[in-house]
Amino acid sequence: MAGDILFSVDELSISFGGLVAVDRVSFNLEKGAIFSIIGPNGAGKTTIFNCINGLYKPDSGVITFKGEEITGLAPHRIARKGIARTFQNIELFANMTTMENLMLGRHIHMKTGIWTGATFFRRGSRAAQDEIRHRERVERIIDLLDLQAARNQFVGALPYGTQKLVELGRALALEPELLLLDEPSAGMNSEEKQDLIFWIKDIQDELGMSILLIEHDMKMVMDISDRILAINFGKPIVEGLPEEVQKHPEVLKAYLGEDESFDSAA
């Protein structure tokens, strides 16, 4: 690891009514690293994601990306800075094909406006060139994730596991520096999970993206994470290397109750 801090969250808090959903959570993400947030259901993991990409405005705290504060910016501005995400409950464009879903991921990189888009009439037209160029890039992601079979199908009709992949592909198409993955393996079978671990590693190594991961599959989390933050009831429990977090008594308690360990659970 290079050791540069790409992204950091400092004392982030948000509450809804009387419920403190996230309570003074802080962590740093090094460039090129995979950082996981774990915790029981309702611990506030997805809420942290929603604060990071601007869907929620945090009550207090500072979010910094590439040395620049991004707290409270509109979601589309944050996307333009280079942060993409996937959702826990798939948020795809159901009536678009896989290709078109991924093309939407290219939105911020494309230039076509209303007039040029409406009036292209040949291969050499600017809008057509724009389309062709970006379709080529999207094709590479389709190849990477083995989505060729789903290429021209409407994503609403695809199997759940494939939809998850399309969502991952759409986030990759944005070419983010930071990728937020919200339970990417949920609903996948063990074979699909194996592939996913493989791809996440690929994304980290070959595309050089840093990844912030929320995941319930402990085996996967322990396998691929460089560092882990465990939270419960919105409060941070412990942050550290996988081995440290795994053995932390409060994590064990929050997850498994007393007197158990991850080994017996996995």
């Binding site: 979601p75 589309h76 159901a94 009536n95 939407l104 888009g117 080529e136």
Partner: protein
């Protein structure tokens, strides 16, 4: 299945020889049609073409972006009055006036799009409804617009030719419709249209992927209003005379019905919707003229006995409504869905 060889074919309008053939046939048919038809049917074709532009425009908003509007008669009125006023008072040439009026409509669309950022579904429906009704009220009470009496359209001159008949106007209206429809189809295949569709399917995902919701929602309203404004400008010359009651609230409902009957989120469906519904609207008025088995007289007698004293407006409306209900119940995708099913049937025949 046709094999695609490069990415341009993904977005090309005519990607096979068969399509080219039908496209050329269509152009030929449209070109020959006015020479072979009685004047009434040319008038009807013009009417259909104008409604196709509106339907395409409204479909961009309703079908593609997933917003609702019950106020499109307002944009239609702005287009019509804008064009006529610019030509009569400022002597702006027709095409310039038409485009300028459409931009004015687009501006109003943009402004109306702003509340749409916070309103959804029924609330947006009511807000746009209010806009549509306000426009007719303003026009009806303001002397500049001719008040309740309305305004006469000025002579329509284009490239030195005075377009006086439906036959002559056909050659203006059809190419404009052609261009507008083609442009809409292209727009939906490229970046901006994709952002519209993304907003419809999941606005949260769209904005986290970098689509500016504020911009694109208002843009969709503006584009839709622009289309409707162009149609309105042409409509003023089709009728030759416009008054506020032409652009009443029912017109907005009809426009929406065109979209739904034609097929939500389909350009081809919009064309079918505009054509078929205009045909019905114009022809159902003459239902009492049906001589077959004396049906016309029977309906007329029924209507006069139970509904109105004169004529058949109610019967026409009832049949119109019935057709809409049946179509929506049996084919939610409208005429477009019908077309798709027929196509699949032929492709897979005899299986």
């Amino acid at each position: 299945m046709d094999m695609k060889r490069d990415y341009y074919e993904d977005i090309q309008l005519l990607d096979s020889k068969v399509l080219w053939f039908w496209f050329i046939m269509l152009i030929a048919a449209l070109g020959v049609f006015p020479f072979l038809s009685p004047n009434y049917y040319i008038y009807m074709a013009n009417y259909m073409a104008i409604n196709v532009i509106v339907t395409v425009g409204l479909n961009i908003l309703v079908g593609y972006t997933g917003q609702i509007s019950l106020g499109h008669a307002g944009f239609f009125a702005i287009g019509a009055y804008g064009t006529v006023l610019l030509m009569s008072y400022l002597h702006v040439p027709f095409f310039l006036a038409l485009v300028a009026a459409a931009f004015i409509a687009a501006f109003f669309g943009f402004v109306l799009g702003l509340p749409a950022l916070r309103l959804e579904g029924p609330y947006l429906a009511i807000a746009t409804l209010g806009f549509g009704m306000a426009i007719t009220q303003v026009i009806g009470r303001w002397q500049v617009f001719g008040g309740r009496m309305g305004m006469e359209a000025p002579p329509l001159t284009l490239f030195g030719v005075n377009l006086e008949t439906d036959f002559q106007r056909y050659f203006l209206i059809i190419p404009v419709t052609f261009f507008m429809t083609w442009a809409a189809r292209n727009l939906m295949k490229t970046r901006v249209g994709r952002a519209f569709i993304a907003i419809r399917d999941s606005d949260i995902a769209a904005e986290t992927m970098g689509v500016n919701l504020t911009l694109y929602k208002t843009l969709s309203f503006a584009v839709s209003a622009f289309y409707t404004g162009i149609a309105g400008g042409l409509f003023a010359f089709l009728l030759g005379f416009i008054n506020p009651s032409t652009f009443n609230f029912f017109l907005s409902i009809y426009f929406l019905a065109f979209v739904i009957v034609g097929g939500i989120g389909s350009i081809f469906g919009s064309i079918m919707g505009g054509v078929v519904m205009t045909f019905l609207l114009l022809e159902l008025d003459k239902i009492q003229e049906i001589s077959f088995l004396g049906i016309g007289q029977m309906l007329a007698a029924f209507s006069e006995r139970w509904m109105t004293l004169v004529g058949l407006p109610n019967i026409a409306s009832i049949i119109f409504g019935l057709i809409i209900i049946l179509l929506v119940v049996f084919e939610p995708l409208g005429l477009y869905g019908f077309w798709i099913r027929t196509k699949i049937y032929w492709k897979t025949w005899p299986f």
